[in-house]
Amino acid sequence: MSTLSLTSAFSLLLKRDLVLAYRRRAELVNPMLFFVLVTAMFPLGIGNDTKLIEAVGPGVIWVAALLAALLSLDSMFRSDYDDGSLEQFMLSAHPVSILVLAKILAHWLVTGLPLFIVAPLLAVLLNIPASAIPTLMLTLILGTPVLSLIGSVGVALTVGLRRGGVILSLLVLPLFVPVLIFATDAVKTAIVGIPTTAQLSILSAMLVGSLVLAPMATAASLRISLS
């Protein structure tokens, strides 16, 4: 056990989480379904006004993605906390932040990537012009990992609480706002036809920054929650 290298520990943990997720395929679809349903609610609420739907489209898709991410966050450490394997990760010889990163990556592959896949369909439903769809996809692939990374800190802080769900959204949503602002701004700019390099660069910077810092904060929070 002591000879296990860090890379193989990382990939084993990633594989374990993916297998666990695959065994419960029905739950895999839920965040995606939620994403589609929330997005579909907006045109129903707003009414059949094509111009208006087109104007709010990028914002609606991103708010729905935010809510879907928030809803699925709670499951990130929940089962490991309940069966005690989280404590075993803390005891392992490898840095906890790297192991946490494997869990975040697995979580994003299971809950974030499906959103990316159905997004073009929703973009067509909301009359977003085809020229802006690649930008929407880019913002999603850059932005949703940031949501998982930032969210992991909130989950780690609340995992020991019995009713952590509401508090989790209170902690995490304000931190999601920069992603929301720059991502929707990028899509809106792309609809008008102006280059979106600036917004995409800022989103990439957020991704890199949170990739470096969030796992450390999550590891420290997990230690506090388990103490």
């Binding site: 609480l161 209170l170 506090i224």
Partner: protein, 248 residues
């Protein structure tokens, strides 16, 4: 010498006594500067050539907005110290500051929207600075909620410290929002390096109010810290002696 000072301040009992002696000074300073600042700001300072008399809300609005950011930075720094060096007193500072900070943030938002109505013709706009200040309020509320949700107060204080550190990225965004995004909110009138674009007769009351609010924060945070110490150390001997003495 300095190390000894920090060592002593790290002891709850010593802190409790020193804080008790400092509070009256902070309160006296607060009241004097408050009266001076308000009198000079509301009666002595000349009216603004564009905004007339209604600009005078600036003497509450701007110091409150400064305090909202200042207190958050204090919380993040003490959070870092308590995570790294496990000093009990800085943990207590983090949680004692949260409510005061939230109140100042709310005050800045409320006075801002009262000022916005006659000047901009609207209570609220989704402008960069207003939005980021609102986010700051939510960060404070999240910290308060997390602290009250965790039963063990030492664990809660450390969890809150991490959250304060994660949220500190918002502070530069608020500070530079009016320069990065040119929106409705006017840019800062007072900067460290330039000459302020404000007359001295208006600037001095503003700075007096800023000092006044800082002293108020000092007094309140010490009071709250003392209460928190007594609650945490309620099983220790000196607190029980203190309670017996008070009861007589």
């Amino acid at each position: 010498m300095i190390i000894r000072f920090f060592h002593q301040m790290g002891s709850p009992r010593y802190f409790y006594n020193v804080a008790g002696k400092m509070i009256p000074w902070f309160m006296a300073g607060f009241l004097i500067t408050l009266v001076l600042g308000l009198y000079n700001g509301l009666f002595v300072a000349p009216p603004d050539y564009q905004q007339g008399e209604s600009y005078r809300i600036v003497y509450i609005h701007v110091p409150a907005a400064w305090m909202s950011m200042f207190i958050y930075v204090v919380m993040a720094v003490s959070g870092l110290i308590s995570l790294v060096w496990r000093i009990k007193m800085t943990e207590i500072i983090v949680i004692s500051s949260a409510t005061v900070g939230a109140s100042f943030t709310f005050l800045a938002l409320a006075t801002g929207s009262l000022w916005g109505k006659p000047m901009w013709g609207t209570w609220w706009v989704w402008d960069a600075r207003l939005t980021s200040e609102l986010l700051l309020l939510f960060l404070y509320l999240g910290i308060i909620a997390l602290h009250s949700a965790i039963e063990d107060k030492r664990v809660a204080a450390r969890a809150v410290s991490i959250l304060a550190l994660v949220g500190v990225v918002n502070i530069p965004i608020i500070h530079y929002s009016v320069e990065w995004w040119n929106t409705l909110h006017q840019p800062a009138t007072i900067t460290k390096f330039d000459k302020p674009s404000m007359d001295m007769s208006m600037l001095i009351p503003l700075l007096t109010m800023a000092i006044s609010f800082k002293l108020y924060y000092g007094a309140v945070v010490l009071m709250r810290a003392r209460a928190e110490i007594v609650e945490r150390e309620r099983n220790s001997r000196w607190v029980q002696e203190l309670v017996e003495k008070e009861a007589k």
